[in-house]
C-alpha cells in the first residue's frame, strides 16, 4: 500500500518559515544562531527568559538562573553528567540537546534516546533547549518517517513545544508535568 502523499517542491526558506510558525503555535520559542555562538547563547538564557507563562509563575526555582544543566551538545558546557539513576535528575534546570530533524507542518523535532543522554531529562528539566540545523527541516510527517528509523533506538520522541494541558475549563496552561519552556535554536547550516 503506497501512501502516495507526494512531496510538494518548496524552498528551504519556505520550510524554515513554516517550521517557525508551527513551533510558535506549539508555544516553543525559536531563536537563530550559529554553532560557534551556542555556548554563549545558552549561557545567556536565564530562568525567566525561558519561561514566564503558565505554571512557571508559581515556581520560584524556574525563575532563577539555570544552574543544573545537562548538555548533550558538544561545545556547550553542562554542570551535570548523565547519571546511572534517572531520579538523580529530579532538580534539573536545563537540558540542552540536538534534534535529528524538524517537521515544518507541526513544529515537532525528532529526539532519539542517544540525543537526550537520559530520556527522563526531557521531562524532568524545567527548560529544554533543542539545537536544530535549518537543513534538517522536512515538510511533513511522511517525510520525517521516511528519513528516520524510529525503531533504531529504545526510545525516540517527536517533541512539539513545552508540556501543556487544557484540562481545566479548556484553558491552555504551559508546564503541566514536563518542561515549562522549550527554546529551539535554529542553526544556519
Amino acid at each position: 500500500m503506497p501512501l502516495g502523499f507526494a512531496q510538494r517542491i518548496v524552498s528551504r526558506d519556505d520550510l524554515v518559515a513554516r517550521f517557525i510558525d508551527s513551533a510558535a503555535g506549539a508555544a516553543a520559542r525559536v531563536v537563530h544562531g550559529t554553532r560557534a555562538e551556542l555556548a554563549t547563547l545558552v549561557a545567556g538564557f536565564s530562568g525567566d527568559g525561558l519561561a514566564s507563562d503558565g505554571v512557571a509563575r508559581f515556581d520560584r526555582e524556574a525563575q532563577r538562573v539555570a544552574s543544573r544543566c545537562l548538555s548533550m551538545v558538544p561545545g556547550v558546557p553542562g554542570t551535570v553528567a548523565v547519571p546511572d539513576d534517572p531520579h538523580a535528575l529530579a532538580d534539573l534546570d536545563l537540558l540542552v540537546c540536538e534534534g535529528v530533524l524538524g517537521v515544518a507542518e507541526n513544529g515537532g523535532i525528532w529526539l532519539p534516546a542517544s540525543r537526550l543522554g537520559e530520556r527522563s531529562a526531557l521531562v524532568l528539566a524545567r527548560h529544554v533547549v533543542v539545537v536544530l540545523a535549518r537543513s534538517s527541516i522536512v515538510a511533513d510527517l511522511h517525510a520525517a518517517y521516511a528519513a528516520v528509523d524510529v525503531s533504531a533506538e529504545s526510545f525516540g520522541v517527536f517533541l512539539a513545544g513545552p508540556s501543556k494541558t487544557a484540562d481545566i475549563e479548556q484553558s491552555l496552561v504551559i508546564g503541566a508535568h514536563g518542561a515549562m519552556g522549550v527554546t529551539v535554536v535554529l542553526l544556519d547550516e
Binding site: 500500500m1 501512501l3 502516495g4 502523499f5 508551527s22 503555535g25 506549539a26 507563562d53 503558565g54 505554571v55 509563575r57 508559581f58 515556581d59 534517572p86 531520579h87 529530579a90 517537521v103 507542518e105 507541526n106 513544529g107 515537532g108 537520559e118 530520556r119 527522563s120 526531557l122 521531562v123 524532568l124 511533513d140 510527517l141 511522511h142 520525517a144 518517517y145 521516511a146 524510529v150 525503531s151 533506538e153 529504545s154 526510545f155 525516540g156 520522541v157 517527536f158 517533541l159 512539539a160 513545544g161 513545552p162 508540556s163 501543556k164 494541558t165 487544557a166 484540562d167 481545566i168 475549563e169 479548556q170 484553558s171 496552561v173 508546564g175 503541566a176 508535568h177 514536563g178 518542561a179
Partner: protein, 474 residues
Amino acid sequence: MRDRGEPRPLPVLDATGAVDHAAGAERFVANEARTTWHDASLWFVREKRDRAASTVEDWEALRDAASAIKTHTLSRLDEYLAQFEQRATARGITVHWARDAAEHNEIVLGILSARGARRLVKSKSMLTEECGLNDYLIGRGIDVVDTDLGERIVQLRNEPPSHIVMPAIHLKKEEIGETFHEHLGTPAGDDDPDALTAAARVHLRARFLAADAALTGVNFAIAETGGIVVCTNEGNADLGTALAPVHIASMGIEKLVPRAADLGVFLRLLARSATGQASTVYASHMHAARPGQALHVVLVDNGRSAQLGRADFWGSLKCIRCAACINTCPVYRRSGGYSYGSTVPGPIGSVLTPGFDLQKYASLPFASTLCGSCAAVCPVRVDLDVQLYKWRQLAVDAGYVSPVKGWLMRRLGAVLADPALLQLTVGIAGAILRVVPRPLARRLAGAWGRWRELPEMPAQSFRAWYRANRRGPD
C-alpha cells in the same frame, strides 16, 4: 485513592438494570446554564478541529488512507498481532495476551506483585477504565495514581472520566478549585487554572519520583518493528515510564498498524481531530525498555474479536479514540458523558458498547439524531450514523425497546406509506392543534411535547394551497 466511599450515582438505570440515556440526559439538562456552557465548551473544540483540518491540503486523502490502512490491518489482525509479538519479544519486551478484562487485571497485578511494586502511576488509558483496573488494584493494596491532570481531578472526586480525551470537561474551575483545596491544600477559592495546574504538578511530581511502576495506554503499536507509540500533551506518560523500574503498556488489539511509515498518516490526523493541535507535545516511540527497566505489553481482546466478527460493526475497530465524533455530537454536547453509562460515551461509545451487552446498552444507539456529523468528522471514516441505525434494528428485534414505541413506529410507518391516510391524519392533527389549548396539546404529544413547542398550524395546508393555485398547466 478512591477514599470517599461509593462512587456517585452516575448513569440512570431503569427497572431492568439497563442504562436509560434519556433519563440521564434529563437530569443533565435540568441545569440549563450548565448545559449551555458544556455545549459551548465542546463546540469550541470542534471549531479548533475544523481550523486544524482546513490547513492540511491532503486532509480527505489522509482520511481515506487512514481508513484503508486500518481496514487492511483488521482484515489480517491475527497475522499482524503474531508479527508484533515476535518482533517485540525479540527486542526484550514481554508480551501478554488477555482474553477479557479479568485476565488483563490479573496480568497487571501479577507483574506488580512479582516485583513487589505498590505504587503505580498511570497515564491515560480508557482500556483500563473499561477493565475496571483501578478499583481492582486498589482493592488489592496497590496505590494507584492517575497522572493526567483531568484524570487526577476526577479520581480525587471519585468520579469516572466524562470524556475520553478531556476527562474533566464536565467540571467548572470553581469545582476543581474546591477539590484541590480539599485534597491538595490549595487556598480556598483559588480557581486560577495556572495556579491549580502548578499545585497538581508539585503533587504529582512527588508521585512520579516515588513510583514503583508506570502504566500507560497505547495509541499505536507497530507490527513491523514491535514498538509502541504513546501520545500526550502533559508528558505524564514519559515522566512515569522514564523513572519507574517497570513499564506496563495496556492496549486493545485493534491499536496495531503494519508499518512505522503508516504513523505519518495517523499522527497527522490524531491531534488535529482531537484538540485542533498540529501535533501532541510528546509522540513517544518505545521499542525497548530502558537499561535496568522491564517493559510489558498487554494485548487485550475483551470483546474486540466478537466486534470484528460482526459484519455491520467491525468498522468501529478502526477508531483511534480522538473523540472528534463526541465533540461534534449534538446529543453528547447536551447530555454529558455520564448519561451514557459507558466508558466511551458519544457516537463511538454508542456503537462499541452495545457489543458488550445489547440489553444493558440498548438506549445508546437512540442517543443520536442520526445527523451524521460524527461520520463527517471521523478521521478514519467510521460510518457511525449507519452503525447507530443498525444497532437500533437489533435492539428492537431483540425486544429491548419499549413495545409502545415499537407499535407507534409501525403505525407511523403505515400512515406514511398511505397518502390518503396521511392526509386524513394531518387534517385531524391540524384541526386538533387549532382548537385544543397548547398545554393540553403538548401533553397529548407525549415525550415529544414535554420539551418542545408544537408548530403553529397555518389556516391552509400547503397541499390545499397548491391545489388552489398551481394545479396543472394553464
